[in-house]
Amino acid sequence: MQRVLLLLVPLALFSLASRFAGFEVRPRGSSELDVGTGIYTLPNGGTITDNKSGLVLEARYIQYKEGEFIRAQGATLRSKEGDFSASSLEYLQKPDTLRLNGVRFSSKEIRGLSAQQGLLLKEDVLVLKGEVRSSEPYLEAATVVVDTPKNQALVLGAFAFRDGGTTLRGNRPDSTLLLSFAEGRVRASTRVPAEILNRLRPYADRL
């Protein structure tokens, strides 16, 4: 159960995305600029590197407009925390939002994490929705909302976490599980205070 909190790790990675405000672009092949819109297109993809954070975005197809957005397909984000990939990705600088489809993430601690959709918001809230899975530790969930500043993760819908020979299950479609981390302790509760539920559940509805 405790290892599900490792979901906080990819959040730490995603939060670096906002640093793409100033980045270095290396196209793979040509780079096309639409002078009318100011949008760059890298039809063969390329690499965008944030030298400050060391975050590297590599994709088969990239479109970006400085100060506004980055769109990519077949994208991989690399960092020292782990590798993250998405079939498609859209980063909007205003509001500072990262939207993903076909999300996959792997690190030393968590392997084979995937979800149909992902959303990272400016307030460092990550939403993973639709067949959220990981192989190690084993995880199945419908929706996970991770609130980094408050060190909380909310699991919505039926879920299963397996760790060694132990499996924790929420067996009902309306299951809820709040995981929180404070003062070196992990707390888990299926009885989620209404204020937290009302604050975090709307994030899940944005996907």
Binding site: T167, R169, N171, T190
Partner: protein, 526 residues
């Protein structure tokens, strides 16, 4: 760091759940569950703060054949203890309630315990101050417990030990494993009314080791009997005494055994003996020297009374071999006795039996015994015999047959059964060929038998407030008439199965049978 601490917390939590193996029920449908390889905990809600895990709103713990339910289950990581209040535990045989329960290590302790075998209600229950349960073996000890039937206190026990698979009758020492509970209250009618207490258990410090019999037999007939009996036993010692008061006088029987020393008597059979028999064994060899002073009526009448001393020994060798489904057992024996006023006695013989136990069961055996001289007392006497016997068992078929070479008679039975979910229809054909005029061991003359009995045995009652009927009907082919008929009604309530039956023997099939009707009443713990 926090991951390590969390790992420890969850590891301890899981370990505690694993240690609660003796508990078990339908936990899987709870909103939240924690599965382990050996058990499952669940509840309406779960709280875990890194130190204490709490399942609430209908918590449960389920493992091998046991289920624990409580409003909440609390695990304290610091003390490594699981606690619950108002606990209810179900096993296939028992339901327990406890005011409070603690699990630590392999031991569960509970206080304020009530236990019952009843499917509903608690008309039969044990109240106990404390329960100690080994969560690995499932063995439980109830301390300072009190047995109640219909709220009527029956007995107090300092300590009762029982395993999950044991029946209450076995736990209380009322029955041996696999036996049905004998009804301590007898109420039936054959040649007269039989009424009273039969082997009624009186509570001792550990189990029912003392039993009382107070019976009126054949009441209303010309030959009524008032029987008073008392028996007690512990490991190496047992004693029993039974007094029968009849219009014709008194009769008594009993035994006292203390290790190798014994005294037995049966005044009706004219048998008394005081002596010793000490057994020694080396591997499969058993040697029993004996000596006694005794009296016996050889044919059951004072005319053949003998008295005197006997000393001798018996030697037996029990050989048993098994190879796959095949088993061979052979047990030769020899016994000799010397008397003070008569020539000595020697008997020897044995039994050899082969068995096959596989898709079907087959056994075939031969038993023989030869006497030299006259055995004066029943204790050392081994009657001469030469018997060939065998049997075959298949699903729905049982065949048994035996040929006695000394009596030149053959007897056997064939039973066919047709089993359904609700019970078994069966027929049994019994025969005894060339038996007429042959004397049985009780001195009575035997006769020919050709009897067919048809019956139905319902499946054991599993539902509460349920009824079943067991009819049987027998026909004697030799005497051309109905030999027996009977009907038993069984009724299950929450705690007991009540039996009420009537059987009438119209044509006796064996010297031990008397043509008469018999009304029976019985009681079983569910």
């Amino acid at each position: 760091m926090w991951r390590l601490k969390t790992n420890q917390a969850l590891g301890s939590l899981v370990a505690t759940f694993l240690l609660s193996l003796a508990w078990a029920a339908p936990c899987r449908e709870q909103p939240y569950t924690l599965e382990t390889p050996e058990g499952l905990a669940g509840g309406g809600n779960l709280e875990f703060d890194g130190e204490v895990a709490l399942f609430t709103d209908g918590a449960c713990l389920e493992a091998r054949g046991l289920t624990l339910r409580a409003p909440s289950l609390r695990y304290d990581q610091a003390s490594g203890e699981l606690t619950a209040r108002e606990v209810e535990v179900e096993t296939p045989r028992y339901r327990f309630w406890a005011e409070e329960a603690w699990v630590k290590g392999q031991t569960l302790r509970a206080s304020g315990v009530r236990a019952t075998t009843c499917r509903c209600g608690e008309d039969l229950r044990l109240l106990s101050q404390s329960l100690v349960l080994n969560t690995q073996t499932g063995e439980a000890v109830l301390e300072e417990s009190w047995l109640e039937v219909y709220r009527f206190g029956l007995a107090r026990f300092e300590e009762l030990t029982f395993s999950p698979g044991q029946s209450l009758g076995e736990v209380l020492g009322l029955t041996e494993a696999g036996e049905a509970l004998p009804a301590p209250l007898r109420f039936d009618f054959d040649q007269g009314l039989n009424f009273g207490l039969s082997e009624f258990p009186l509570a001792g410090p550990q189990r029912f080791s003392t039993r009382l019999t107070l019976l009126g037999l054949r009441l209303g007939s010309p030959d009524p009997v008032l029987r008073l009996g008392l028996s007690a036993r512990e490991r190496q010692r047992r004693a029993s005494l039974q007094l029968d008061a009849k219009p014709s006088g008194f009769a008594s029987s009993g035994e006292v055994v203390d290790g190798p020393l014994f005294f037995v008597h049966d005044s009706a059979a004219g048998r008394y003996a005081f002596g010793l028999r000490q057994g020694y064994s080396w591997a499969d060899l058993a040697f029993s020297p004996f000596g006694w002073v005794a009296q016996d009526w050889r044919d059951g009448t004072p005319a053949t009374q003998v008295q005197g001393l006997a000393a001798g020994a018996e030697l037996r060798y029990a050989l048993s071999l098994q190879e796959g489904p095949f088993r061979l057992r052979m047990e030769p024996f020899g016994v000799f006795a010397l008397y003070d006023q008569a020539p000595g006695y020697l008997a020897y013989g044995g039994q050899v039996e082969g068995r096959y136990e596989g898709a079907f069961n087959l056994h075939l055996g031969y038993s023989w015994g030869t006497e030299s001289g006259l055995g004066r007392f029943w204790l050392e006497r081994r009657e001469a015999t030469h018997r060939l016997f065998g049997g075959l068992e298949l699903p729905g078929l049982e065949l048994r047959a035996e040929h006695d070479f000394l009596k030149s008679q053959t007897q056997g039975s064939l039973r066919l059964g047709y089993r359904q979910d609700y019970g078994e229809f069966w027929l049994r054909y019994s025969f005894c060929a060339d038996c007429v005029g042959k004397t049985t061991s009780n001195g009575r003359s035997d006769w020919e038998r050709r009897e067919l009995v048809l019956g139905f045995t319902p499946s054991p009652l599993t539902c509460t407030y349920d009824l079943s009927l067991s009819p049987l009907l027998g026909y004697d082919f030799l005497r051309q008439g109905v030999s027996r008929f009977g009907l038993e009604l069984r009724y299950a309530d929450c705690c007991f199965v009540w039996r009420l039956g009537y059987q009438e023997v119209r044509i006796a099939q064996h010297p031990d049978e008397i043509p008469s009707g018999k009304f029976t009443f019985g009681l079983e713990i569910r």
